[in-house]
Amino acid sequence: MVAVSGLTIFNTILKGEDMRTSYAKWLAVFWLALILALHLVLTPGPFSKSLKTTEQGVEIHELLNSAFSRPDVY
């Protein structure tokens, strides 16, 4: 995913294209959706709370959270 994103961006820049003529526009939408999803999962609130009601949800949360934080380490 990172490679595809990178290639898309470089392709856009190298060709000097803007989003109007490039498939980068879908990358932009996907990128924003990805950020929103991460935000929803990680930020304490109703969404992460409901996610954590299932075992799989807890695993997903812990996996993503461990990528950014070490909450239990002082």
Binding site: L40, F68, Y74
Partner: protein, 645 residues
């Protein structure tokens, strides 16, 4: 009855905020009138300047015996309203509310939930206090309101060396109103932050849409909105940090008056939050150099930078006078918390290290994402990850065509990056956005521009454009959903009264223990939270330092000696937060006590256990007691009988 307290708090808060705004407009008119011209959204600057000036004034008044009085607070507010009424009225006449409204239809939908959040902000301020505010910030303010002058909060004497303008602001509002009024000021500060962010975005030449996107990023940052609900004082600092940045970025020139405003606001910002110092110095220096070389050469700009920089530094030092006086009078340490004449007073406030080396390494490895997604203890929220959505879009910019000299958003982001780097070097483990708001929020205008660029480029494809708008709308609605429950809770708390606006188990623990303290005796509190205590009890608290500090826990100290020391200090009740202070709870033993003392214990709840100390025949007289002073303030007093004995 408590509902009336809440209702009564509203006009007091409104008058305070209006007086601060009037004072700010009056000061701007005399200090730097150019800031009042032609800018639609700069009420934030006037509000920040007014609130900052009030904070500085209270910091001076709190040093005068009995200086903090309802009368003195009212006098300042009335004078401010009288001085500022005309300039404020003249300003409001030219103020265009319509110019602030979103112009694009899609942006109006984004603005709706943001405005709704701003409207419920006053209610959110009444949510039960968080741990830090409950332990120090609010309790310190409450104590000053009681003693009418600065007295370090027992148990936090070392921490009280920090400047306290925001806490004194709470005090002023408690004196003329109540605790509800004090907490409402966080709503005013949030509004000021939003207006200042809009002003900064405007100074960066962002469009109306870009300005609203900047506001969206600010309000989507939980590190900002959480501060409204928990009673901490960092919004005051954040507001002044933004005001200082705005003064620098939008200064029409580096002439005397503008520089004076820049210096005063920088001083206020640093005093409001000392951790801003290492980030603001490189940031503001960058902005100063950028301002000086605009339309000039570096060689010609250097003397201007030196002159302006020196003047700003002098003004920052002048702003520190209340802090110097406070720490000199209270501790004999005029340069605390930076330099100490005696090592005994150094609580190591500036040498903070929060986590282990391993965790710190991980924090640095995950920079800057950790500021957007991290969930560390004490982090207290994140900056909106929308920064990530906007900044990569700037890769599409034709850099060769970029006029960086005139690109305030880019220069501000570079300044923010420098501030962030300095922070990463000096305090890598301190991962709390509130500590470095000016640096993190410096990326907002550039990111907002990136989001706007991306959004505009999607106009050709209706589905992509609408999907992007829907995702942005989801970001705008999120803060409301996060705080919806808090708003409901806050409403319920109002009925329970200002003194019950605390978390239940804390309230219960402190109430039960306080209820059994005999008049004239003192209480030892082994725990952090203390705001719900009556001010007299608060002022008479026995501190752990008083009975030996860390030595209490040493194996050489017998439990019998601990009970004896508490009793001699005037203590008849001890309350222990057994969940948080297991070290202390393990040390004490009700069966190992002096023969002349009875010790009883009672579990209040899962967190608190209280102990009563009752002297038997043959018990010595306590050395200390809690007694009213000549000013009718209950305070620790030497027992006459032991003094004579």
């Amino acid at each position: 009855m408590f509902v009336f307290d809440a209702i009564a708090a509203l006009p007091v808060w409104a008058i305070y905020s209006l007086a601060a705004w009037a004072a700010g407009v009056w000061l701007l008119r005399h200090l730097a009138p150019s800031y009042l011209e032609g800018r639609v959204s700069n009420p934030g600057l006037a509000l920040a300047l007014g609130l900052g000036s009030f904070g500085a004034l209270w910091s001076l008044l709190a040093l005068v015996p009995d200086g903090m009085q309802p009368f003195s607070v009212w006098a300042v507010l009335i004078v401010s309203l009288l001085l500022g009424a005309n300039p404020l009225y003249a300003y409001l006449k030219t103020f265009s509310f319509r110019a602030m409204l979103p112009q694009q239809k899609a942006v109006r939908w984004l603005a709706l939930p943001l405005v709704a959040l701003l409207l419920i902000a006053p209610l959110l301020t009444w949510y039960p206090l968080g741990t830090d505010a409950n332990s120090f910030y609010f309790a310190q303010a409450k104590l000053v309101a009681y003693t009418r002058q600065f007295v370090p909060l027992p148990g936090y004497e070392g921490f009280a060396q920090i400047p306290l303008p925001a806490e004194f602001t709470y005090t002023a509002l408690m004196l003329i109103g109540n605790e509800f009024a004090a907490r409402l000021i966080n709503a005013t500060e949030l509004w000021a932050c939003v207006l200042l962010m809009a002003s900064i975005a405007q100074a960066c030449r962002l469009s109306n849409t870009g300005i609203w996107l900047s506001v969206l990023i600010l309000l989507g940052s939980t590190s900002v909105t959480l501060l409204v609900t928990d009673g901490k004082t960092d919004l005051y600092g954040g507001m002044l940090g933004l005001a200082a940045v705005y003064a620098f970025i939008s200064a029409p020139s580096l002439a005397g008056r503008q520089v004076a405003l820049m210096g005063v606001l920088s001083g206020f910002a640093v005093l409001a939050k000392l951790s801003f110092l290492p980030v603001l110095v490189p940031m503001l220096a960058t902005l100063l150099v950028w301002k000086a070389i605009a339309g000039s050469t570096l060689k010609a700009a250097l003397p201007v930078v030196f002159r302006a920089g020196s003047a700003i530094a002098v003004l920052v030092i002048l702003c520190c006078i209340p802090l110097i006086l406070k720490n000199w009078l209270a501790y004999g340490e005029p340069f605390a918390p930076f330099l100490f004449l005696s090592a005994a007073h150094d609580d190591g406030l500036l040498g903070q290290d929060w986590f282990s080396a391993d965790a710190t390494r991980w924090i640095l490895l995950t920079y800057p994402l950790v500021w957007l997604f991290g969930q560390y203890p004490m982090q207290h929220g994140v900056i909106s990850p929308l920064l990530l959505a906007g900044l990569p879009a700037l890769l599409m910019v034709r850099w060769k065509q970029l006029d960086w000299r005139n690109d305030a958003a880019l220069v501000l982001a570079v300044a923010g990056l420098l501030g962030l780097l300095v922070w990463a070097v000096l305090y890598p483990s301190v991962i709390a956005p509130r500590y470095i708001f000016p640096a993190l929020l410096a990326f907002v205008p550039l990111a907002a521009r990136g989001i706007e660029m991306t959004w505009q480029s999607l106009e050709g494809s209706r589905i992509a454009y609408s999907s992007y708008a829907a995702l942005l709308l989801a970001f705008a609605i999120l803060p409301l959903t996060y705080h919806k429950t808090e708003a409901k809770y806050a409403l319920r708390w109002i009925e329970r009264g200002p003194f019950r606006s605390y978390v239940d188990y804390i309230w219960q623990g402190l109430q039960v223990a306080e209820g059994v303290v005999p008049e004239g005796s003192r209480m030892l509190l082994v725990g952090w939270e203390r705001s719900p205590l009556q001010p007299a009890t608060l002022n008479c608290l026995i501190t752990e330092k008083e009975i030996g500090g860390a030595a209490i826990l040493s194996e050489h100290k017998k439990p019998e000696d601990v009970w004896r020391d508490i009793y001699l200090a005037g203590g008849r009740v001890m309350l222990v937060n057994v969940a948080g202070r297991k070290d202390f709870a393990d040390k004490i033993d009700v069966n190992r006590k002096p023969d002349w003392l009875d010790v009883g214990a009672g579990k209040i709840n899962e967190f608190y256990t209280f102990y009563t100390l009752t002297p038997k025949k043959g018990a010595p007289e306590p050395v200390w007691k809690c007694a009213p002073s000549k000013r009718d303030v209950w305070e620790p007093t030497l027992n006459e009988m032991t003094k004579n004995g």
